[in-house]
Structures are given as structure tokens and as C-alpha cells.
């Protein structure tokens, strides 16, 4: 009987080892491909973040000279706990955020349902809905500042022509946030429409057709069939808009400068003023920025947890 002896030549690997080596090589190569992006992210995101965090433990006011930088530990964070202007700005931000979000969600859903229900002209209408999204926040803000001017603005001229009262939108501390919210609704509802329309158009048609055959009306179709499947899309829209709304800056800065008497001063505007915008109190402004970021993070986490994944 011949015995076949397999003799391994020097440096010859078994097939399994070859496969393992190839997988390892692919992994390493994958990480190496990520390296440029990681390096860039490290330089422009991670390093400034860490340096900023470190700087927030310093008293560093450029008006006193950049060389005068003193370590003060948590004093900046202690100071902000009693900073009524920071908490006032946060209150304004939350008011603006939730007012805008609710209106945009309701309006966006209504428009998405309308667009989903029509076939002729829906492309044109969809494009028209997207027009406001194509302009920048500063352009939207400056445009609406003129429209909302109490004496020469078109909005009040229109109201007066209908013999209605023409309020001082931007000079009344009770109206200013709703006015700025109105600007954001005009500007950003299209975003919600895009997401919800995509959701509506992805819904399977058969259950809806079967329900219609069974005599379900539009309201019942929406509540029992469409809405449960739309929830993930609504959640996506809510989270995206929440982040965007909380970081509002240009609308407040350009339309009112935060007035009257800080009634429309939002968190980002206050942080900007404390930092490079005016006071040059860099250490304190960074502590405000970090605190605000943590608050937004917690808020998004809470919303994520409270909103159901699917019904």
C-alpha cells in the first residue's frame, strides 16, 4: 500500500491560514482606508473638542489679554448655574423649538398626505414646497425681517387692508418667538414633508385597498393602517428637526438681535455673544457651549426613548 505523505514545503501555509491571513489583511486595509478621514476628523473635530473642554476650566477673557489665562477648575460651570441669561436663553430656545416642531409636524403631515393623494401635478407641487429649503437661514431671516416690519412690512399692510390689527411682531416680547417660529415653519416644513412623503409612498398598497373594499373611510385608513407604519418616519423627522431647531442662531441674530430685551435671545446667540461675538470671555463661553450640547444630547435621548419605534 502506498502511503501518500503530504510534506509541507518550507513557508507553505495550509488553506485555512491563507484565508485567515487574507481576512486580516482586508481588515487592516479597511482601517487604513479610513485613516485619512479619521485624521481629518481628529484634527477638525476631536482636537478642538478636547482643547475646548480643557479651556472651559480656565478664566480666559481676551479683553484682559490672551496671555492672562488662569486655571479655575469648575468655576465657569458653577457660574453658569446662576446665569439667568443662559437659562432665559435656553427657555426661549425650548419654546421656539417645540412650537416650531409641533406646527411643522402637523403642517408637514397634512401636506405629505395631500401630495400622496394626488397624481397630476404632484411633482410640481413637491418642487414648490422645496423652494424655501433652497435659501440659507440668513437670507430667510433678512427677508422676513422686512416682511414683518410693523409699519412698512407686507404682512401688516395685508392685515390692515383686511381691517385687522397689525401687531408689532418683532417688538412685542410675547409675539416675537411665535413670529420667528413662523419664519422657521415657512422655511423648514419642506424637510418634514420630504421624510413623511417618502414614508407614505413606501407603505404597501394592498392592506389599504382591502380596507377600502371593506368600507373603511379615509380617517380610519389613516389612524389604523397608515399612522402605525408611519411612526418610524415621524420619529426620524422629529429627531432631525429637534437637533436643527435647538441650534437656531441666524433667525434670532438677524431678525431681532435677541430683542426686545432678550425675549428672542436663544442659547446659541447668547453663547456667541459671550464668546467671539462681543464679550470675548472665551473660557466661560466654551463652558456654556458644552453645557448646552449636553442638554441637547439628553433631550434627544429622551425623545428617542419616549417615541415608540413602531406601533
Amino acid at each position: 500500500m502506498l502511503q501518500e505523505t503530504i510534506t509541507l514545503k518550507p513557508n507553505q501555509n495550509r488553506p485555512g491560514l491563507i484565508r485567515k491571513r487574507k481576512i486580516n489583511q482586508k481588515k487592516v486595509l479597511g482601517y487604513l482606508y479610513l485613516l485619512p478621514a479619521l485624521l481629518i476628523a481628529g484634527v477638525i473635530i476631536v482636537y478642538p473638542l478636547l482643547y475646548g473642554a480643557w479651556t472651559s476650566f480656565f478664566q480666559w477673557n481676551w479683553t484682559a489679554g490672551m496671555q492672562n489665562k488662569a486655571f479655575i477648575g469648575l468655576q465657569n460651570y458653577v457660574q453658569l448655574l446662576s446665569d439667568e441669561y443662559f437659562w432665559g436663553a435656553l427657555k426661549n430656545t425650548l419654546y421656539f423649538t417645540f412650537l416650531s416642531l409641533i406646527i411643522e409636524l402637523l403642517l408637514g403631515l397634512g401636506i405629505a398626505l395631500l401630495l400622496n393623494g394626488i397624481t397630476k401635478g404632484s411633482l410640481v407641487l413637491r418642487t414648490v414646497m422645496m423652494f424655501p429649503l433652497m435659501i440659507s437661514d440668513i437670507v430667510a431671516a433678512l427677508m422676513w425681517k422686512m416682511l414683518l416690519d410693523p409699519s412698512s412690512g407686507v404682512i401688516n399692510q395685508f392685515l390692515l387692508s383686511l381691517h385687522l390689527s397689525a401687531p408689532n411682531w418683532l417688538g412685542n416680547s410675547h409675539l416675537v418667538i411665535p413670529a420667528i417660529s413662523m419664519v422657521d415653519v415657512w422655511w423648514q416644513t419642506g424637510n418634514i414633508v420630504i421624510i413623511l412623503l417618502a414614508g407614505l409612498q413606501s407603505l404597501p398598497r394592498e392592506p389599504i385597498e382591502m380596507a377600502q373594499v371593506d368600507g373603511a373611510n379615509k380617517f380610519q385608513l389613516f389612524i389604523y393602517l397608515m399612522w402605525p407604519q408611519l411612526i418610524p418616519f415621524v420619529k426620524t423627522a422629529v429627531v432631525f428637526r429637534l437637533i436643527d431647531l435647538m441650534r437656531v442662531f441666524a433667525l434670532s441674530w438677524a431678525i431681532t438681535g435677541g430683542g426686545p430685551v432678550r425675549a428672542s435671545e436663544v442659547s446659541q446667540l447668547y453663547i456667541y455673544k459671550v464668546g467671539m461675538g462681543k464679550y470675548l470671555n472665551i473660557g466661560y463661553s466654551i463652558s456654556l457651549a458644552f453645557t448646552f450640547a449636553i442638554i441637547v444630547f439628553i433631550l434627544i435621548g429622551l425623545v428617542n426613548k419616549l417615541l415608540p419605534e413602531k406601533n
Binding site: 486595509l29 487604513l32 482606508y33 485613516l35 485619512p36 485624521l39 481629518i40 484634527v43 477673557n61 481676551w62 479683553t63 484682559a64 489679554g65 490672551m66 496671555q67 457660574q79 416690519d149 410693523p150 409699519s151 408689532n168 418683532l170 417688538g171 431681532t256 438681535g257 430683542g259 426686545p260 430685551v261 432678550r262 455673544k273 467671539m276 461675538g277 462681543k278 464679550y279 470675548l280 470671555n281
Partner: protein
């Protein structure tokens, strides 16, 4: 295999290029080596405009300017400078609401994006001085090879040029004045005549307030307000100093702190003169149209130039050039100019100036000075003054006061006699300024003035304590 090898080679090249570019970006910038006494400059020769000899044609000066009548004129003439010297000038213009933080950002950089910029001795200027971001100009002014004899710096009024010497600077000059403004009163002669109000008989603030009541009653329903004044404008506190000075009387005050803090940094916002100044300002806001609490100087100028306001208070004499320009104003020939009227306790106002300064870290200082010398020369000021109505040189006022109009020149002259420099800057002054704006608007909206000023006083005390000025 070859395709895979090619991919690996390309990948390595991309990584190397990325890392190399980032290392290049992180490399320290070369320090400016340009010195005021550069040896390659030839002696000054006679020239149509007082500049030194031509420099190599490939040189460029970057200039950052605020949107201003002075800037509009200088841009029309800058080619003359290039033709004479071969130095190209790149000018960037920004609106005032974004100008100040751009100056701070630019100056703080190791390689400022501008060599020359417009400066005012306010908080931004003081911050620049504190951080050695602004170059002192004395060596350039005193060097005959760099500054011609006909430039004549002493022709500039000292009370204006002294404003560009910061405290503790041993008298060094950090800016060359460009244009001066004093805070005065503009009024519609025709409206006062229609109401049979003799303006020459209005001697005090109270006289004027009574007249404004009459004007308001007659014209408010016709879309003309009795008065406009800056509201929630970030620069309003500069002009507010004029109103406070009008009540302050002959009492002394500390420069940079103005009337608001004493030598121990104890706030003085409850001083009757300060309270009255704030109350007057709030009252004048209330005479304005709906939305006047948000008025910036731009809104006020537009309202007055469009004929929608009968008076315009405590604002810059420079606006006279706009009101007399048919392309910008519908009230040409109808505008009266007056010095600020007296109060029961005093009679005063303030003045302010824009200047031209040099970035300390500029790598192009000699050419930057050439541009500055040209732009602030007597010859160029005769051009810019026609638009600014606020020359800083005695020689210009002497030859051009007819151009500005007798009433305007007389009002400015009277105003300057009762005027003090209105510059407030110290660590934390930005926060105090914001609290001042809040207080004025609150009073105009009906809040109790004494209570509001007490709150402001307490906040100001906290601010100076937090910034280490007061114990």
C-alpha cells in the same frame, strides 16, 4: 493582482498627501519681519499726494473697512495710490454689525487676513491693544523717509488723535483719525415752521420736549413721528453717553469708565444724571413709530431721510452728508442742525472717531504705512470730507466749512465746545453695554426707571467683580 497593487499604491499616495497637507497647515506661520526703518526705501520726493517713493509693483496691501461714507470715497480713489506706488490694494468691506468680531478674529490670527483696518477706540480697539495686535505708529510718523513733511500729523485735532492713544501706552499712537462725528440734533425746519415753533427759542431739553409734543400731535397720524433715536442697536450706548453727559454737569469722570464707575469701580447707574439721561433716551424712543425699540442707526437715518421723522437725536454729524444728498434723501434743504440743548443740570455731548490702524502681525508693514499715509493725507481728506462732513484736520475745516453749510458748521462747532470723547472700554464692558441696552428698552416699555437702574447698578457691580476689576 496588478489592479489590487495599483489600488494599494494609490491609497498610500492619498494618505501621504493628506498627512503632508495637514502638517503644512499646522506649521507655524513666519513672523513678520518688516521693520519701520526698512533700508530699501528711497528718500521722499515731491508727489501730488504725500507718499514716499514707488515700491515694487508686485506688492499688495490688504485692507478691511467698515461700510461707511469714508470707505465709499476711498475706494473711488485707491487706483491713484496704486498708480503712484505700484502697490495693489485689496479692500474688503463689511457691515458694522459683523465688522467688529471680524476685526477681533483677524487680529488674533498669526497671519491676519488684513494689514490695515478701520479702528475705533472702543472695546475692540482696547482688546487689540491689550493683546499687542495693533502696531504703534510713532516710528512711522517720526521717520522722514517714510512720512513726508507735507503730511503734517499735527494738523489733526489733538482731542481727536489723542483718542487713539490707549491708557498705559506711554502716549503711543495706535491709529490715525479718519473721520470725526459729534452727537447732535437734526430737525425738520419746515415742520417746525408749519407749527409756528421758533427753533431759536428752544434752549433746553424741556423746551424741545414741549415742542415735540406739539409736533407729535400734529403729524403722528400723517406718518411722521416727532423723534427717532437708536433703540436696540449694539452701538446705542456710545450715543447714550452724550445724553448722560448732557445731565452730568461739570463733574469729573474717569476716561474709559465714563460716568458709570468711580475710581474704585463702584457703579454709578443710580446717579440722577445717569438716570435722567436714560429716561430721556427712553422717552425719545417712545416718540418714534411702532417698532422703534428695535431701531438701529440705519433705520433712524432712513426714517429721517425719507421724511418720516421730525427730529433725530444724539446722532452722528456724519449723517448730514446723507440728508443733503438728493440720491439718498427726500428732505434735502429742509434739515436744520443744532447743538444738543442744555438740561437743568448740565450741557454736554460726546464725540467719536474712526481711525486707520495697522495689524502688528502684518508681514507688509512698510507698504501698509504707505497706504495709511496716503489715505489720511490732507489731499485725500479734502475728497473724503465731502462725503463724511467730519474731517479731522484743522486745515480741512478751514477751507471746507462753506461746503458743509453755515448752519451745520456752526452746530458742529458749538457741539464740539461742549463735547468730550465718548469711549468706554475695560474688561467686561461688553457685558455692561448689553445690560445698558436692556435697561433703556425696559424703561421705554414702561418699567419703573429707578427700579430698572438699581438692577443695572447691581448687575454692573457683579460684572466688574467677576472680571477682577473690583474686589
Amino acid at each position: 493582482m496588478k489592479h489590487a497593487q495599483l489600488k494599494k499604491v494609490l491609497f498610500v499616495l492619498v494618505v501621504v498627501a493628506t498627512v503632508a497637507s495637514m502638517l503644512a497647515a499646522c506649521a507655524p506661520a513666519s513672523q513678520p519681519t518688516d521693520a519701520p526703518k526698512a533700508a530699501d526705501q528711497s528718500a521722499t520726493e515731491a508727489a501730488p499726494v504725500a507718499t514716499t517713493a514707488a515700491a515694487p509693483s508686485d506688492q499688495v496691501v490688504n485692507v478691511l473697512l467698515d461700510s461707511h461714507p469714508w470707505q465709499q470715497v476711498i475706494e473711488k480713489h485707491v487706483q491713484e495710490f496704486t498708480d503712484q506706488t505700484g502697490i495693489k490694494v485689496n479692500i474688503t468691506v463689511l457691515g458694522e454689525d459683523v465688522y467688529w468680531d471680524r476685526v477681533s478674529l483677524g487680529l488674533s490670527s498669526d497671519t491676519p487676513p488684513f494689514d490695515v483696518f478701520m479702528l475705533s477706540p472702543n472695546q475692540t480697539g482696547y482688546t487689540g491693544y491689550q493683546n499687542n495686535w495693533i502696531a504703534p505708529l510713532d516710528d512711522y510718523l517720526n521717520d522722514a523717509t517714510l512720512t513726508s513733511a507735507s503730511y503734517n500729523f499735527t494738523d489733526i485735532y489733538p482731542y481727536i488723535s489723542d483718542g487713539f492713544k490707549f491708557p498705559d501706552s506711554n502716549g503711543k499712537q495706535y491709529g490715525i483719525p479718519l473721520t470725526m462725528e459729534t452727537y447732535m440734533l437734526f430737525y425738520r425746519k419746515d415742520l417746525f415752521q408749519e407749527q409756528n415753533i421758533d427753533v431759536s427759542s428752544l434752549k433746553t431739553i424741556d423746551d424741545w420736549m414741549a415742542a415735540l409734543d406739539k409736533i407729535q400731535a400734529a403729524y403722528k397720524d400723517k406718518g411722521i413721528s416727532a423723534a427717532v433715536i437708536r433703540g436696540q442697536d449694539s452701538t446705542m450706548p456710545d450715543e447714550l453717553l452724550a445724553a448722560v453727559n448732557d445731565y452730568w454737569g461739570d463733574r469729573s469722570f474717569l476716561p474709559q469708565r465714563m460716568f458709570y464707575f468711580d475710581q474704585n469701580w463702584v457703579p454709578q447707574f443710580t446717579d440722577p444724571a445717569v438716570v435722567n439721561g436714560f429716561k430721556l433716551w427712553a422717552k425719545l424712543i417712545d416718540y418714534g413709530p411702532v417698532g422703534s425699540t428695535a431701531f438701529t442707526w440705519n433705520d433712524c437715518v432712513r426714517q429721517f431721510a425719507d421724511g418720516k421723522a421730525a427730529t433725530y437725536w444724539f446722532d452722528a454729524s456724519v449723517f448730514g452728508s446723507i440728508f443733503e444728498d438728493p440720491s439718498q434723501s427726500s428732505v434735502v434743504g429742509k434739515v436744520g442742525y443744532a447743538a444738543i440743548p442744555a438740561t437743568a443740570t448740565g450741557h454736554g455731548t460726546t464725540h467719536w472717531a474712526w481711525g486707520l490702524s495697522m495689524a502688528e502681525k502684518s508681514a507688509n508693514k512698510t507698504n501698509a504705512w504707505k497706504f495709511m499715509e496716503w489715505a489720511t493725507s490732507p489731499e485725500i481728506e479734502k475728497e473724503t470730507a465731502q462725503s463724511t462732513f467730519g474731517p479731522v484736520r484743522a486745515s480741512t475745516w478751514a477751507t471746507m466749512s462753506d461746503k458743509f453749510g453755515a448752519e451745520f458748521s456752526s452746530a458742529v462747532d458749538q457741539n464740539l465746545k461742549i463735547s468730550v470723547p465718548g469711549y468706554m472700554y475695560f474688561t467686561g464692558s461688553g457685558e455692561v453695554v448689553d445690560r445698558i441696552i436692556d435697561a433703556v428698552i425696559k424703561i421705554s416699555q414702561g418699567e419703573d426707571p429707578d427700579k430698572t437702574m438699581k438692577t443695572l447698578n447691581d448687575e454692573a457691580a457683579d460684572i466688574v467683580k467677576q472680571n477682577g476689576l473690583a474686589k
